[in-house]
């Protein structure tokens, strides 16, 4: 079995031309994102139900999150989406050096997000807000307070995991850009990487208000 892909053009053997390949990989990534929406959807469904049952406990628990850090991270991720989009544009024009630079910026912004997130997790640890046998909370004795933190850690944890995977993928694409792989006819992989990155950002855009901004008008 010989490998029919010719590395010069980036066309894999099973496709007739680069257009078909780009169409297929783009559709594949959209389907993967549909799968991701269903995956996070389970968490959002659980959040919706429990918050509807325990609105006060959720609002009170939410006040223990740091809005400044969360807001800062939101801005960081929006910027990373911008650099990612510029990276895709550079790939479409075949400017491999610019691709590398923009992806590197995206990668660094992603890391800033994760470092800030790690500090937030550490604060929760110190304050005893990690769910489980050592959970302690001053104020409401409603057990649903702990449920808020269950969901907070599950949702932001899953999101952070997706960021880490995205960071690994960015390293791969930076290496490819260093090898001058991309040109006007072959930029698809960077584009679908961009789809993934924007998706992960959008998840955070939903998480931030749902977790950090609860019941602010009452406080």
């Amino acid at each position: 079995m010989s490998d029919h892909s010719s590395h010069g053009s980036g066309l894999a053997h099973q496709f007739d031309d680069l257009d078909q390949q780009l169409d297929a990989t783009t559709l594949g990534m959209w389907l993967f994102l549909a799968q991701e929406i269903m995956f996070f959807g389970g968490l959002f469904a659980a959040y919706t139900i429990y918050r509807n049952w325990h609105p006060e406990a959720f609002a009170e628990a939410s006040h223990h999150l740091d809005i400044k850090l969360g807001g800062f991270n939101t801005v960081v991720l929006i910027f990373s989406s911008l650099t990612m989009a510029l990276g895709v544009r550079a790939a479409q024009m075949g400017k491999n050096k610019a691709v590398f630079n923009y992806l590197f910026a995206t990668f660094m912004l992603g890391n800033v997000f994760l470092v800030v997130k790690a500090f937030e997790y550490h604060h929760k640890w110190v304050e005893g807000l990690i769910p489980g046998p050592w959970f302690r909370f001053e104020g409401s004795t409603d057990p649903a307070v702990q449920m808020f933190f269950n969901l907070y850690f599950a949702m932001t944890g899953m999101h952070a995991l997706h960021m880490i995977i995205g960071g690994g993928l960015l390293i791969y694409f930076m290496v490819q850009a260093r090898k001058n792989r991309y040109h006007e006819g072959y930029y698809g992989p960077v584009e679908i990487m961009g789809l993934y990155w924007h998706f992960v950002d959008i998840v955070w855009i939903f998480l931030f208000p749902l977790l950090y901004l609860l019941g602010l008008h009452n406080s």
Binding site: Q14, A24, L27, G42, A45, A46, Y50, P131, M147, N150
Partner: protein, 545 residues
């Protein structure tokens, strides 16, 4: 390499063996690193067959225990483990991947005139993911097993069970991604890789059925994945998602679980229906009746299948009004299912029917699926379900769908395409005989369970009152016949790979692009991309006056 191939002779003789996908290269590497969808299909065939026999072993234990009313062969705990492992292995490691990963993988690219699936590396990756999941399951199995039932209901699974729940959940989580990636690959392939002239409504119905299945795999499986993550977080890290003492609700687990696991039943049965559509039209020598209706009924089943999960929870404290909606929607699934059965029957009407082995399986499927489907309507009925819930009636019902339906279709398809996959014919006499043995054994095993359930025998107990013994002995006797029915094809199919007669390109005189390739096909399926100029199943009936 491709261009050097001579045009294959229609009946190859040993003296001039042409190059095909099986002899194109040799050695472990050429299989374990292959990107050829046909070889990956065979990797799946070998691995799911292994899991089928592991799952079958636990079925034997269950049926042996139930021969006598007393719980004498196994303790209650061991019995719980046996039926749980039977369910987990058969569902996640055999039925879900069975037809899509083996027959779908092998046939979809050929049926649509493509060289391979859209993402060959992803295809190989999904087999590896399946195997990793399988090994985690084997670990769970050898280190004490799991006793929660395959449904892993909280709070038993999250709090009380001392068995290997976490490892089992991880195994199902991992294997789920193999299923997602297979479905994703199929959807993209069917959208983007069809040969010129092969419009959507010229696709074989097998492909339509797999399209619908793939959509369920992509959209349903991740919900199970996140549910298992929450379960693991609760069990291992004390996050009380489903624990009322900590603000949670165990019924949420059931909702999330069945949101995947009910559509999962359609992941098992839809591909089988696709196989039956191919078999019925080929062996009736007649264009399929109502092509558009069969194709669209697959899509309708996939869509409706996502809206009926609550019928598993009529007695779980779900609101009565939700129950009524779920009941009505469950009845509605009967419509597209019945459309298929009527259309297959109408296809046979005045057809020129031959009783080849695959067609015998198709007959078996239609009869057994009809019983399984109609008893499903009993269970969709809110009032009746209170009586039948968690009894052997339910067990019999879903085995008629999953074994009588899905496995019959799988075996029918394996026989039908075996000459294409291996280039060899199987012994027809043995094959027909074993199909009949299976049919008899199956009915003897599971029909008495309808009666047992109706009389009130609950599922998942290792002991039962004495008045149920006669029917239980019948069921266990049937299971032993069923076991023989599975072993015979295993033996002669294996035998035929080496000693079977060489198969011509199109042994059944069937329509479809896969029958225009040599048996077995070459690595890239077609020397030139085919151009499709006719509708599917343009059979010309032999005139009989």
């Amino acid at each position: 390499m491709n261009a050097a191939l001579a045009p294959p002779p229609s009946a190859p003789t040993p003296s001039e063996t042409p190059t095909h996908y099986l002899n194109a290269s040799y050695g472990f590497r050429s299989w374990l690193l292959t990107l050829d969808h046909k070889r990956i299909a065979l990797l799946y065939l070998a691995s799911i067959t292994l899991f089928f026999f592991i799952g079958g072993f636990y079925a034997v234990l269950v049926r042996l225990e139930l021969v006598t009313p007393a719980g004498d062969l196994m303790s209650a705990e061991n019995y719980n483990t046996a039926f749980t492992l039977h369910g987990v292995v058969m569902i996640f490691f055999f039925l879900i991947p069975s037809i899509p990963a083996v027959l779908g993988n092998f046939l979809i690219p050929i049926m649509i005139g493509a060289r391979d699936l859209a993402f060959p590396k992803l295809n190989l990756l999904s087999w590896y993911i399946y195997m990793v999941g399988g090994m985690v399951a084997a670990y769970a199995l050898f280190t004490g097993g799991v006793d929660t039932g395959w449904t892993l209901y909280a709070p038993y699974s999250s709090t009380y069970s001392n068995s290997n729940v976490t490892a089992t959940a991880i195994a199902a989580f991992i294997t789920g991604f193999s299923s997602i990636l297979t479905g994703l690959n199929f959807v993209v392939t069917i959208h983007k890789m069809r040969a010129p002239g092969l419009t959507w409504f010229r696709l074989p119905l097998f492909v339509w059925a797999h399209y619908a299945t793939s959509v369920i795999q992509v959209l349903g499986t991740p919900v199970l994945a996140i549910t298992l993550v929450l379960l693991i977080l609760e069990r291992s890290f004390g996050f009380g998602f489903f624990d009322p003492a900590r603000g949670g609700d165990p019924v949420l687990f059931q909702h999330l679980f069945w949101f995947y696991s009910h559509p999962a039943v359609y992941i098992m049965i839809l591909p089988s229906m696709g196989v039956i559509s191919e078999l019925v039209t080929c062996f009736s020598r007649k264009k399929v009746f109502g092509y558009g209706f069969i194709a669209m009924s697959s899509v309708a089943i996939a869509v409706l299948g996502f809206l009926v999960w609550g019928h598993h929870m009529f007695v779980s404290g779900q609101s009565v009004y939700a129950g009524m909606v779920f009941s009505i929607l469950s009845f509605m699934v009967g419509i597209p299912s019945a459309i298929k059965v009527f259309n297959w029957t109408a296809t046979m009407y005045k057809g020129s029917i031959s009783y080849s082995t695959p067609m015998i399986y198709a007959f078996g499927f239609i009869g057994l699926f009809t019983i399984g489907g109609l008893t499903g309507l009993f269970l969709a009925n809110l009032g009746l379900d209170i009586h039948l819930h968690d009894t052997y009636f339910v067990v019999a019902h879903f085995h008629y769908i999953m074994v009588g339906g899905a496995v019959m279709g799988y075996l029918g398809g394996i026989h039908y395409w075996w000459p294409k996959m291996t280039g060899r014919l199987y012994p027809e006499g043995w094959a027909r005989f074993s199909a009949l043995v299976l049919f008899v054994g199956f009915n003897l095993t599971f029909f008495p369970q309808f009666l047992l359930g109706y009389m009130g025998m609950p599922r998942r107990y290792h002991a039962y009152p004495e008045e149920f013994q006669v029917l239980n002995v019948m069921s266990s006797a049937g299971a032993s016949i069923l076991g023989v029915g599975y072993l015979i094809p295993m033996i002669y199919l294996f035998w035929s790979m080496r000693y079977g007669r060489l198969a011509p390109e199109n042994p059944w005189g069937a329509k479809g692009l896969e029958w225009t390739t040599p048996s077995p096909p070459t690595t890239f399926n077609f020397d030139e991309t085919p151009v499709v100029t006719e509708e599917a199943y343009e059979y010309v009936k032999e005139e009989k006056h």
